[in-house]
């Protein structure tokens, strides 16, 4: 039975851990629905093509002309140009200087891509939004002032809103950043070309189609832009997690098969030790099928009890491992974490029954005369 317990614990706890990892990554990865991210292509290519297809930018930025091409190609889906840099900041008199990312967005686009947990969106060039981690780490509130640049030479901005936590995002990662108006960004850093374009795919539209449309439009001659479909990327990540979980669970399954072999041996020993008893039972009128059932019940009990103990232990093991590795146990108490426990327990019972079949058959088909003579 110990083998079954260990096998169930191995399968179920690996499944729980894998599921918890997937859920944890899901929570961390924020896609804001379906997004397609367009970035300047950084490698290869030849020549400076003009017209028709994409216009290659040599400065690894997306030009305004390219943005308009993208915007036309993806309509009616919304294309949002994003400017990005990082700079030194100071958060008040006497505070330390920090370096943080700065995103520049058109005020009309901010509400389409970011949600606030405090304050309001700013349309003024003197206002900015801050990420939730930025606000927590530096004790920044709505109304706080941030000086940008060495000695604040690039100006001071007033915090008008705090952005909701977004985790790791494919489009823009604002948790530790500030978001300013595109106009302020242009004027301050003397830049008008964009770092990325985020295309918000409308509901019901296939993001893969949008990706293909952009690539066809922009990369006709040379590869000018790289296009990433966040939905497909997420699917690839989850598929990888799934494969890893399956692999480690399969290793647990091997231990279960070993347990099954041990149950087979135990059952065969049990039959051998009880040959005389089987002979007596057959002689006084016990049917073969009743002998078979008796031994199958024994195998079933071994499997059921072992699986129940294994299931309980696997939940405890899953709890401990989740707490240690993920610093949270909230993913343990969801239905998707119960599935590997149920699967492990069922597999344990099936293995027990499967490995009990031959010994039970052997017991049922013993010659009663030989069995009665057995010492």
């Amino acid at each position: 039975m110990l083998g079954i317990v260990i096998g169930v614990v191995a399968i179920a706890s690996m499944g729980i851990l894998g599921n918890s990892l997937v859920l944890s990554v899901s929570d961390s990865l924020h896609t804001v629905g379906d997004s397609v991210i367009v970035s300047p292509y950084a490698g290869g290519g030849s020549g400076f093509g003009q017209g028709g297809g994409g216009v290659r930018s040599t400065s690894l930025k997306i030009t305004d002309q390219q943005f308009q091409q993208i915007q036309r190609a993806v309509a009616p889906n919304i294309a949002i140009p994003v400017l990005q840099t990082s700079d030194i900041m100071k958060l008040g008199v006497g505070s330390d200087t920090i370096v943080a990312p700065i995103y520049g967005l058109n005020p009309d686009d901010v509400s389409k891509i970011l949600n606030l947990k405090a304050g309001s969106y700013s349309r003024s060039d003197s206002g900015c939004l801050v990420g939730s981690k930025f606000a927590d780490d530096h004790n920044v509130k709505v109304g706080s002032r941030i000086s940008i640049g060495t000695d604040g030479d690039k100006g001071t901005l007033r915090v008008t809103g705090i952005i909701e936590e977004r985790g790791i995002s494919f489009d823009i990662s604002t948790d530790s950043a500030i978001v300013v108006t595109q106009n302020w960004f242009d004027n301050t850093y003397n830049r008008s070309d964009y770092d990325t374009v985020v295309v918000k795919v409308n509901q019901g539209v296939d993001s893969a189609v949008v990706k293909t449309t952009i690539e066809k439009q922009m990369n006709k001659r040379d590869k000018v832009v790289s296009v990433m479909d966040s939905k497909a990327t997420l699917a690839t990540i989850f598929s990888a997690f799934g494969a890893i979980t399956t692999f480690v669970s399969a290793i647990g399954g091997i231990s279960m098969i070993v347990a099954g072999v041990s149950i087979f041996n135990i059952m065969m020993m049990s039959v051998t030790e009880r040959i005389k008893e089987i002979g007596i039972m057959r002689s006084i009128g016990t049917q073969k099928r009743e002998i078979l059932s008796m031994f199958m019940y024994e195998a079933a009990i071994l499997g059921i009890v072992g699986s129940i103990i294994g299931a309980v232990l696997s939940i405890l093991a899953g709890y401990a491992v989740s707490a240690l590795l993920l610093n949270t146990t909230k993913y343990l108490f969801v239905w998707s974490s119960a599935i590997p426990v149920i699967e492990g327990a069922c597999f344990g019972i099936v293995i027990s029954l499967a490995c009990g079949i031959y010994p039970a058959w052997r017991a049922a088909n013993l010659n009663p005369i030989d069995a009665l003579r057995h010492e």
Partner: protein
């Protein structure tokens, strides 16, 4: 006694095929056992007594010939039917008692009843039968290892009687008991026979055979008397 024999062998042959050559254990055995008889079967070692007992108990099938139990021909029966026949019509009493060590005495005795009814049985019937074989009430909840050999054999007899069989088949019933205890068992069996139970007993002990009313002697697979 009614006319139909409770057991009949007609020209029964049993051959065991062995790699070294076939062995004929029984060679054309014919006899009848009337209802209510008490018969002992005697013969030297290797005469075919055990083979005869196994065939009488439907634990084995003849190579040729017919066996009838209460008028039913056993030759065409399936294993399930033969098992049911053993359960309902034949009671076995073994030399070494062959009780289940993990069951108590009541459970041992009522085991065949449970096989027949396929559900929990009323232990009262078991107690009645145990009292009829003169076993004390205070022993009913003991396990077989907690009682004497003679008491175990009484339990074995009770188990054999529980389903009101047509025949009691006994294989050296006193072989594992001292003479005084053995006589006690034989007196019990004589009493059962007097009440109408048909008993067929295999023994090599002529003193024990004297308790029976007829002796069948077998040698080299054939009945000699």
């Amino acid at each position: 006694m009614d006319d139909q024999p409770v057991m009949e062998f007609r020209n029964v042959v049993k051959v065991y095929p062995l790699p070294s050559g076939d062995v004929t254990a029984l060679d054309g055995v014919s006899f009848r056992v009337a209802r209510g008889e008490f018969i002992s079967i005697m013969g030297p070692s290797g005469s075919g007594k055990s083979t005869l007992l196994n065939l009488m108990g439907c634990l084995d099938t003849p190579t040729s010939g017919d066996i009838f139990i209460s008028g039913t021909r056993t030759g065409d029966m399936s294993d399930i039917e033969l098992t049911n026949l053993r359960r309902d019509r034949i009671g076995f009493i073994f030399q070494y008692f062959n009780l289940f060590p993990l069951l108590n005495i009541i459970e041992n005795v009522t085991f065949p009843m449970m096989l027949k009814s396929q559900k929990e049985v009323d232990p009262e019937k078991g107690r009645e039968v145990l009292r009829s074989v003169q076993l004390e009430d205070n022993l009913f909840t003991h396990t077989p290892t907690e009682v004497s050999g003679g008491q175990q054999q009484r339990v074995s007899i009770a188990r054999a009687l529980i389903n009101n069989p047509d025949i009691l088949l006994c294989d050296e019933p006193t072989g594992n008991l001292d003479s005084k205890t053995g006589d006690g068992i034989m007196e019990l069996m004589t009493d059962l026979n007097r009440k109408g139970t048909t008993i067929i007993m295999v023994t090599h002990d002529s003193h024990i055979a004297e308790y029976s009313r007829r002796t069948i002697r077998i040698a080299d697979g054939r009945i000699v008397t």
